[in-house]
């Protein structure tokens, strides 16, 4: 349905009565008289917050003030209209809000003391450039670290910052892995950390499992593909797996309140049901997975053609039942030679260097694990608290009610063993063969890391890249023993940090970051709102909001490339990232200035020209007319080249060259067996369930409650924490607690309470609710400390641990360590004084 409905206009009949309206004057113009021609302008733009939704808006502007905002609803694919949500709509109150940074600020007192000197841009830039120059000369440019959020939402402006870091030789920490969004379970299985279908594809599903995903809240503009298209028009069944009856549970047919941290056991149990009930799509697994590859019993590695002296190390062997002999699997296609039937169960013996070696197909190794008593639904019921019969039914329905789809949320990924959970879910999907068609995929929407075009021409001039270092090592202050040798930890350590549009001091990890910052000579933040991170800085630079600058925006939610326009002149003394970078380079390394002698539009043209096949033929002029669909299949179903064209995995991860990911997905197939020694050392060659909390200190394990920290409807992470309109709707931080847990502690609804463990504590208010599983607390994440009843936001979550299977290869934000905040154990008490 279109959003603006033309109907016979009743102006003549009723216009004399509109003075009775609650508001006297109609927008646009918001004046008694309609605005004179040329006085009110309407601008089509795109917002780019860290939800990464990339929604199009029509803004009405009078005298450089936005007086009205409406969804643009102009996507050529009608189903996408309208896009937008309460957060985007109330952005006006951030643009005009009381926390806007008006001028550059230089710290006067101690860090965090709140004493500032208002500075001119020249003063601030000279100060920063002087320090940068000294750090470069004394320690090397790699001691300067850039951490900007979220680069994929802003190809041009935040890209300009990366361009500077590349040219100066600075270090660059990809936010994506530090945010915990990287899904190593995906990387281990398909060689890329996340893969998504466009959200329109959800609408084709007959069965959808939302696995800890709360899309009604986190993907508001896309939720209609579930409620309207899948459910209402397609009669789909929606299953929601979540310890809390989330906003999304409202729209589901079945809500499974799972015990937190046990999702992996549930997935493997469902795999067992598929195997037991003969619901496996053998054709799919033979083509797309590593099930047929043979594992050597002597060393646990895959059998290669080179082992037998008949080919290369990158060629893998399988057993063909038709010819009853080993064959080399083709490496450039997933298509098997005509007539080949892969043996997937039987061990054989081959001769390597004159010695007999037993080899076993991967499927057999997986089957041995999956079919073990541990994953019997009757047993899994006891740990997940989901009835065995329900586990069987959901598995059966997932495999038979097609097309069927899984959407994964971050709740299962922000765990040390989240990788195993996701590997298990992918195993389930592979057994069912539920990929590659509209309405069939496993999607995670974990972020904006997957650029929709190759940003290299703008970001990495002449192929020069910054020194990529995961933020974890900055926070730890030193490399781990198992750090990947490709990561160049600065020889003199980190001395300077630039945080752009990030708020790392409002994360589950803020205290360790603060300690790392305390060792720096320079800490600069670039933001539009005076965040807790800004408050701890040496210099704060005022940036425009995304309503006040030009950029190019893409998203993984939908395949439209869009322009962001300068709807308003940058307010106060704010300056774009492009301008700031140019002025810094002018002061630090003037010989590089010519790299920045370009406009935003020039940068966009550069990106379009060298951006790869998805943007081939798209022009700036087309983009200025409205959203332009990328050159991708319609609908995009995720891994389209693999499932449709049988092109080997992994799909390319922009901005890296084709082929670099093959290092960690050597077979080119969905790998459910990982052969590297590091996996064998910890017994994770194939997906298995490991209890979530056993890696915690014993004192933590004894604590009675889990805590989950989902996204809030009222914020995008910590953005909008200080939005006056949204605070009017969501007045104070609350912890959801089941009445049983509350009663046991004498806590009543609305009481001030304190969440605590050995790491820390913080105070907020109790929301006693039946919608959460007993034994689980829920606090939506992103509240700034100033709104708490006391303590440090999420100070209870300060474990840091890196899994060695996340370090054995390194590709920034594709193969890198993740986070495991949600493994935290806590208790709660009533605050009495």
């Amino acid at each position: 349905m279109t959003v603006v409905i033309a109907r016979p206009c009743r102006l003549s009949e009723n216009s004399h009565e509109t003075k009775h309206m609650a508001t006297r004057h109609a927008v646009p113009g918001r004046d008694k008289k309609p605005p004179a021609p040329g006085e009110a302008k309407v601008v089509r733009t795109t917002d780019s917050p860290n939800c990464t939704g990339a929604c199009g808006w029509l803004a009405t502007v009078v005298d450089d003030v936005i007086v009205d905002l409406k969804p643009a609803a102009d996507y050529p694919c009608e189903e996408y209209n309208p896009r937008g949500c309460l957060r985007g709509m109330s952005m006006t109150h951030m643009i005009y809000g009381p926390d806007r940074i008006k001028t550059p600020l230089i710290r006067e007192g101690e860090r965090g003391e709140g004493k500032w000197r208002e500075a001119t841009w020249d003063e601030a830039l000279d100060f920063i450039a002087g320090k940068m120059r000294r750090i470069i000369d004394d320690y090397g440019p790699e001691s300067l670290l850039l951490f900007n959020q979220v680069v994929g939402t802003s190809y041009v402006q935040k890209g300009a910052q990366v361009r500077m870091a590349a040219l100066l030789g600075m270090s660059f920490a990809t936010a994506y892995d530090f945010n915990g969004d990287i899904s190593m379970g995906f990387t281990h299985t398909i060689g890329i950390d996340c893969v998504e279908c466009e959200t329109k594809s959800w609408g084709y599903a007959k069965y959808a499992i939302l696995w800890s995903s709360n899309v009604f809240q986190t993907r508001i503009p896309d939720a209609k593909f579930l409620t309207k298209h899948a459910k209402q028009e397609n009669d789909a069944t929606i299953v929601c797996i979540d310890p809390r009856c989330s906003q999304t549970a409202k729209g589901s047919d079945l809500w499974l309140p799972i015990e937190p941290g046990t999702d992996c056991a549930l997935a493997l149990s469902m795999c067992q049901v598929l195997l037991r009930e003969k619901l496996v799509d053998w054709k799919f697994v033979e083509t797309f997975t590593d099930f047929g590859t043979l594992i050597r019993e002597d060393n646990g590695m895959r059998l290669r053609a080179s082992d037998l002296g008949i080919g290369g190390e990158d060629e893998f062997m399988a057993w063909d039942e038709t010819s009853d002999s080993v064959i080399v699997l083709p490496k450039d296609t997933l298509r098997l030679p005509e007539g080949v039937r892969l043996s997937i169960r039987n061990s054989r013996t081959v001769e390597i260097d004159g010695k007999p070696v037993a080899v076993t197909p991967v499927f057999r190794l997986i089957e041995d694990v999956v079919m073990s008593a541990e994953y019997d639904p009757d047993r899994v019921e006891k740990i997940t608290h989901i009835p065995a019969e329900t586990i069987r039914q959901v598995a059966r329905d997932y495999a038979t009610k097609r097309p069927s789809s899984i959407i994964i949320g971050m709740g299962i990924n922000h765990r040390l063993h989240g990788d195993l959970t996701i590997r298990s879910i992918l195993l389930l999907s592979a057994l069912a063969g539920a990929h590659g068609k509209p309405g069939e995929s496993v999607s995670i929407y974990s972020g904006q890391h997957h650029f929709r075009l190759d940003v290299s021409p703008w970001w990495f001039p002449g192929g020069k890249r910054p020194n990529a270092v995961p933020m974890h090592y900055f926070v730890l202050g030193k490399p781990t023993e198992t750090i990947n040798p490709k990561i160049k930890f600065p020889k003199n350590g980190f001395k300077g940090l630039f945080v752009s549009h990030g708020n790392p001091l409002v994360t589950e990890f803020s205290e360790p970051i603060k300690r790392a910052i305390d060792n720096l000579d320079l800490f600069v933040t670039i933001d539009f709102s005076m965040s807790p991170t800004c408050e701890y800085s040496d210099v704060v630079l005022p940036a425009p909001t995304f309503w006040e600058k030009v950029d190019l925006v893409g998203t993984s939610c939908h395949p439209y490339l869009q322009m962001q326009q300068e709807v308003l002149t940058p307010r106060y003394d704010s300056r774009t990232e492009m301008w700031i970078v140019r002025e810094l380079v002018r002061r630090v390394e003037p010989s590089l200035l010519n790299y920045f002698d370009v406009s935003e539009y020039d940068a966009i043209e550069m990106l379009l020209e060298g951006g790869g096949k998805e943007v081939a033929g798209i022009t700036l002029d087309q983009l200025l007319e409205g959203p332009v669909r990328l050159k991708v299949p319609d609908p995009e179903v995720g891994c389209d080249e693999q499932f449709a064209d049988l092109h080997p995995f992994p799909p390319r991860a922009y901005p890296f060259p084709e082929g670099v990911q093959r290092e960690f997905l050597k077979t080119g197939r969905m790998e459910f067996y990982k052969e590297e020694e590091v996996f064998r050392k910890i017994g994770e060659q194939v997906p298995i369930y490991k209890p979530a909390f056993e890696h915690l200190p014993e004192s933590d394990q004894k604590l009675p409650l889990s805590i989950v920290t989902p996204h809030s409807k009222w914020r995008v992470h910590s953005t909008h924490s200080n939005n006056p309109v949204l605070l009017n709707l969501n007045r104070r931080p609350e912890v959801e607690i089941n009445p049983r847990d509350a009663a046991a502690r004498g806590i009543r609804d609305g009481d001030p309470v304190e969440i605590f463990n050995d790491n820390g504590s913080y105070r907020l208010w109790a929301l006693v609710t039946e919608t959460i599983k007993p034994g689980v607390l829920c606090v939506d994440h992103g509240w700034w400390d100033r709104y708490l009843g006391g303590g440090k936001y999420h100070s209870v979550h300060t474990h840091q641990k890196i899994k060695p299977t996340h370090e054995n290869y390194y590709l920034p934000a594709v193969y890198a360590p993740g986070q495991h905040w949600k493994d935290t154990r806590v208790d709660i008490r009533k605050v009495t004084k």
Partner: protein, 231 residues
């Protein structure tokens, strides 16, 4: 004749409050004044619990009790059925607030605002549009309707759960939607019909449909599934 009305499809609604904020954006309402609201309700006890969202706004009743209650005759009903409070005639008696069985009329002594006083967004473009100390409510964005546009909450609803139009026009989006949904066995209904105000605003669909199972639940119910259909 015309009868403007809004139908809200509760199956499509995700409780996102885009309507709440779109209304604010359009009408520039002060702090704590919401013409469009969404109730977030929980029903039942764990694990047999449901989340329910109920969006509410003025229903522009045929037999509007607010209109009858006003001692100053400040409430009028337009020819297209839209009920409006005349800001110039209203003396803020609050009679309409008490009369509305739905609680959809707001009257505040003092208006509070969101932004600093010197921000032109509010000082120049929002505050002058409202008269203080009068009763206010949803107008179905009559100023937009007069221009042939849908109300702000309708165009902003990301799930197209709100359908607006003329009930008297069989070709209008709302009329065709009602026919289509009736054919699918979903009868539209009014909220609190027993109040007898003949509201124009309609709903369709159940508020929540999910079933929930946990082993604990199953034990308590002796292994029987409990039918947890519409609330």
């Amino acid at each position: 004749m015309a009868r403007m009305a809004m139908l809200i499809d509760l199956t499509r609604c995700i409780g996102c409050d885009a309507c709440t904020v779109a209304c604010k954006q359009e009408n520039g309402t002060p702090v704590d004044v919401f013409f469009a609201r969404v109730f977030n309700i929980e029903v039942g006890a764990f694990p047999n619990v449901k989340r329910v969202y109920l969006p509410v706004l003025c229903y522009h009743c045929d037999d509007a009790p607010c209109l009858k209650s006003c001692p100053n005759k400040a409430i009028v009903r337009r020819k297209d059925g839209i009920v409006l409070i005349d800001q110039d005639r209203c003396r803020g008696t609050g009679a309409c607030v008490s009369a509305c069985p739905y609680g959809n009329i707001v009257l505040h002594d003092v208006d509070k605002w969101y932004l600093n006083d010197d921000e032109p967004y509010e000082s120049r473009f929002v505050k002058p549009r409202l008269k203080p100390q009068v009763a206010r409510k949803c107008t179905y964005c009559a100023h937009r309707v007069d221009e042939g546009l849908d109300p702000a909450c309708v165009v902003a609803c990301p799930t197209t759960a709100r359908i607006f139009g003329d009930l008297d026009d069989p070709g209008s989006p709302i009329s065709t939607y009602i026919v289509q949904e009736c054919e699918r066995g979903r009868e539209p209904f009014h909220l609190l019909e027993e109040a007898g105000t003949k509201p124009a605003g309609l709903y369709v669909g159940t508020m929540s449909e999910q079933e929930s199972f946990s082993s604990q639940h199953q034990r308590e119910q002796g292994g029987e599934r409990v039918d947890a259909t519409a609330v």
